[in-house]
Symmetry: C2
Subunit: 293 residues, 2 copies
DNA sequence: TTCTACATATTATGATTATAAAATGCAATA
DNA sequence: TATTGCATTTTATAATCATAATATGTAGAA
């Protein structure tokens, strides 16, 4: 049997791409450009476009290529989850849940996991390596893998918040820190939308994503990839743990208000104040939202 | 063909183990205790002990097990590099070198790497995943892997130092920070030995290891695994980059002197002073040792 | 010239299998 | 009662192969 095709994912990527570029009906979509954007060869882009043509998103012209058939903004939510990535993610979450619920022992062999989740070894290993990168499982010297405490202990949870608070605050104090004003405006819009009622209607995943993006944006402005990497890594963990905590939506107005305050401080050049405020902002969140373990 | 045996590595681990415990001739070495210590089953420990018996390091008694045949301190450098780990490490370094020298292109397929380094896929993937974890290579969505700038850019190098400086300083300022006085004394001894001439005779690897252990010890005292993880991760990278830089041994006396100063400050409870000094210590090292790229 | 469209080469996956190693249950022994 | 030493079960590796995917060279159209 062969591997799963990339093209469904590429289809989604193309839709996201034209949306983010706000492209209009009739614009040309050169193969190579798309291939470069997604870091693949022209082949999977080609088959993705063929599929999109069937769906009427793009229009093909012989020997001239593909052209957007509608304005990007009118595309709606044409992107569906692909079985590939949803499958992989689903198992990732399943493992996390099973571990948190104690259904998985501290040590398991690869063979056991292959049986449990009905995966071929290569697919399983891909997931396990991702988890290992996030730091909550590790390969044993002999057979099998061992889960670490990271996920289950209350202490780790609080340590994570302390870490985030330090990293983000200090990133902001680096000499290389420089806000991207355009991004800042966009973030302000998002936070305002959230504050103006969005916190009641948005899905948990959307709220969580918006929050993560806000913080990663701030750290990104430090221009130091090590700080950004560290934050990304811990955010992936956070997503996992907090995924199953019911969001206390009553806290969101305060949170977005604080986010907006941080943006204000940055924009008016009061960087050290912003950094200090950011620190307390994060530590406050960690203290309240911590799960009982 | 089957996998490589663990037991050569276990042999080395046993020797390290008895040395670190300063065990004396005749002490018993229970199988299960060793197995637990190394996180493996009794099987590979058993075969390691059999091997060590042939070499006269331990003595076997029928149905009673194995006993140390000499005082641990008299063992000398009985541990040789095992073909397994030296092989894996060697290829890891080779890849790094080849990349730094431009012999490897930014993108390579797995098949290409398998041919180049004559590795089966599983072995290669293990190495690639380790490298990916260190952040200087990543899997492409289609075929192949892409090297990132981390290794080659001067900017990354300096960013790394800024990151280390922040993490270590802040770790020391955490409320949970508490020095282990016994470790502290051992570190003082090491640094004193280094200062008393060791910096001229020790190998580069030994000096580098001592330095890393010093810093990881400090961060470990924060009791926050996220800080420690971050430092470990970046130290692995550092090892790689600085491995090929000739150590400026004339700087070592100053370095060890500063290390001792930090220990003094910690011991006398002047933590924030120690943290501040640590910060400048690291930033100073980064400024001077940076390689030309 | 740029780019597509097709043909061809190359690649990664997954299934299968042999084999040596690791893990483990348990009787025998100190 | 704890621990060894053996026997048995289970596991991970590596090699091979079929297959469907990705990558790429190139003629020819725009």
């Amino acid at each position: 049997m062969a591997r799963n095709s990339l093209s469904p994912q590429i289809s989604n990527s193309i839709i996201e791409f034209v949306k983010s570029k706000e492209m209009r009906k009739g614009e040309h979509l050169p193969l190579q450009m798309l291939a470069d954007a997604f870091r693949v060869s022209r082949a999977p882009v080609m088959s993705a476009l063929r599929r999109l043509e069937e769906e009427g998103v793009v229009r093909a012209e012989a020997n001239r290529g593909y052209f957007l058939a509608v304005d990007a903004e009118n595309l709606g939510i044409t992107s569906r989850p692909t079985e590939q990535e949803s499958g992989e993610d689903a198992i990732y979450f399943k493992i996390a849940e099973d571990r948190l619920a104690g259904r998985l022992p501290e040590r398991v062999s690869e063979a056991e996991l292959m049986r449990l989740y009905e995966l071929p070894r290569s697919r399983l290993l891909k997931i396990l390596h991702r988890i290992a990168d996030e730091g909550w499982v590790e390969r044993l010297p002999g057979n099998g893998w061992a889960f670490r405490q990271t996920l289950t202990s209350r202490q780790s949870y609080e340590d994570g918040y302390a870490f985030r608070a330090v990293i983000e605050q200090q990133a902001m104090l680096l000499p290389s820190f420089e806000p991207d004003l355009e991004e800042l405006q966009r973030a302000r819009q998002t936070q305002t939308a959230l504050s103006a009622g969005g916190y009641q209607t948005w899905s948990r995943a959307e709220i969580f994503k918006a929050n993560n993006e806000f913080h990663e944006m701030l750290v990104g402005w430090s221009k130091n990839e090590f700080f950004l990497d560290a934050i990304r890594r811990i955010n992936r963990l956070r997503r996992l743990i907090e995924y199953h905590i019911t969001i206390d939506r009553s806290r969101l107005p305060k949170q977005t208000e604080e986010h907006l305050h941080i943006l204000d401080l940055i924009e008016s050049g009061r960087r050290s104040e912003a950094a200090a405020f950011l620190y307390t902002h994060i530590m406050g969140a960690g203290r309240i939202k911590a799960p009982q373990v």
